[in-house]
Subunit: 137 residues, 4 copies
Amino acid sequence: MKSPEEIVNQLMMKNDAFSQWLGIQVLEIKHGYCKLQMQVRKEMLNGFHIAHGGITYSLADSALAFASNSHGYKAVSVETSISHTEALKEGDIIRAEAEELHRSNKIGVYQVNIYTMPDKKIVALFKGTVYITSQLW
Amino acid sequence: MKSPEEIVNQLMMKNDAFSQWLGIQVLEIKHGYCKLQMQVRKEMLNGFHIAHGGITYSLADSALAFASNSHGYKAVSVETSISHTEALKEGDIIRAEAEELHRSNKIGVYQVNIYTMPDKKIVALFKGTVYITSQLW
Amino acid sequence: MKSPEEIVNQLMMKNDAFSQWLGIQVLEIKHGYCKLQMQVRKEMLNGFHIAHGGITYSLADSALAFASNSHGYKAVSVETSISHTEALKEGDIIRAEAEELHRSNKIGVYQVNIYTMPDKKIVALFKGTVYITSQLW
Amino acid sequence: MKSPEEIVNQLMMKNDAFSQWLGIQVLEIKHGYCKLQMQVRKEMLNGFHIAHGGITYSLADSALAFASNSHGYKAVSVETSISHTEALKEGDIIRAEAEELHRSNKIGVYQVNIYTMPDKKIVALFKGTVYITSQLW
């Protein structure tokens, strides 16, 4: 069975264009867990000069994909929810930390917290549910 | 009180960089409702050559913002959820249609369906809850 | 394959104690759809003399179970969400109407609206996602 | 300003009929936090002889109400979601522990974990968002 690092390398392979556009870096990956980082750029802002809600969602959704696929079986998102609790501005560095709340044979549930660095202020709370297939990576 | 069109113009003003990057077009806007369209580009794909989940979320979140602000009072998202039901590939044209399910003095609930064009196949189901402030646009 | 009516009969069989306590009646059932009704009783109220949020959730959750199992395969709930939009008082008659928004091989998504009778005022909006097993009823 | 205990006493006053029917006990309450306990009874089971999803939702929803009102201002639920991760049978003792993930002037977000006792196995994961009014208890 492939390691979490090998799987994320495959998921983040050269042609993962959107994660590259976002500038996502993988800081840590292990079974059921990952920590990602990125920086808010000017192109990610909305008309209020704060990050569009889709930016933090995208980072959290990538974290969900990495954490839920890390066990070696392909997993697909079935339902995700996010609360945006603080606004982000250009230059802010944010981290997503995904943690496995539950994993059965078929279903996994993950909590992803997004916070700023270095002050670790929570800016978004994300929960994701995945369906775990029987296909190996 | 400003019209829905005037409010969306303000929301989508020249400096709304991320909506411009996404290529979002406003097809229709009225009180509590809007219809948006965009096309999936190569930069929006993940490592599987399908659109990243953050792309449809971003479109839906913009539709939520437009529909919930259209009554003239500033509204802020408090909780959103999305189910991705079908994969999207480069070149696909998608629409988001936001509908008001409930609106009280302080809280609004919106359903946003995302579907492909011209075949109108549902690709994502989004629900958003907003807090309605007393600030006029 | 069993009919939707036969499946609901099995789900609602004599020993479904909680649905009986709630007083749930099945008004209509077909593939991917059902309509249920019940009346708010004194024992269902909280300290504010309005129905506890768990009452409308329970009705909606039963509607999800009936609608998602109606195709003949056993389905289990994986994630549900509800917004309570209006308060209910003793004696109110409420209906739950479940509609299938999406159904693939493995995953189904259902919208359940709860409204009062006879004025059809929406009191709760529920969305449920199920995992569809390969086990026949 | 009233203490968390005084507020819960008011919320759980003699006429909170449904919490009494459920048999909810308050084990601990402080600002933004509470711990509740109850036991699954025969009347709470569905046709599969496991607890109806509405039972754990009801316990979690009560925990949300207590934790979010504990600061002294009246708070109302705007959106809640729950994943049922394990089945419960007659006689099982369950606890709900509510924790405040975020609280601004107007909006609060709470995580409620439901687990069995004494083995602390997670059976349901609940997230609730409330609107905080300016009304004092």
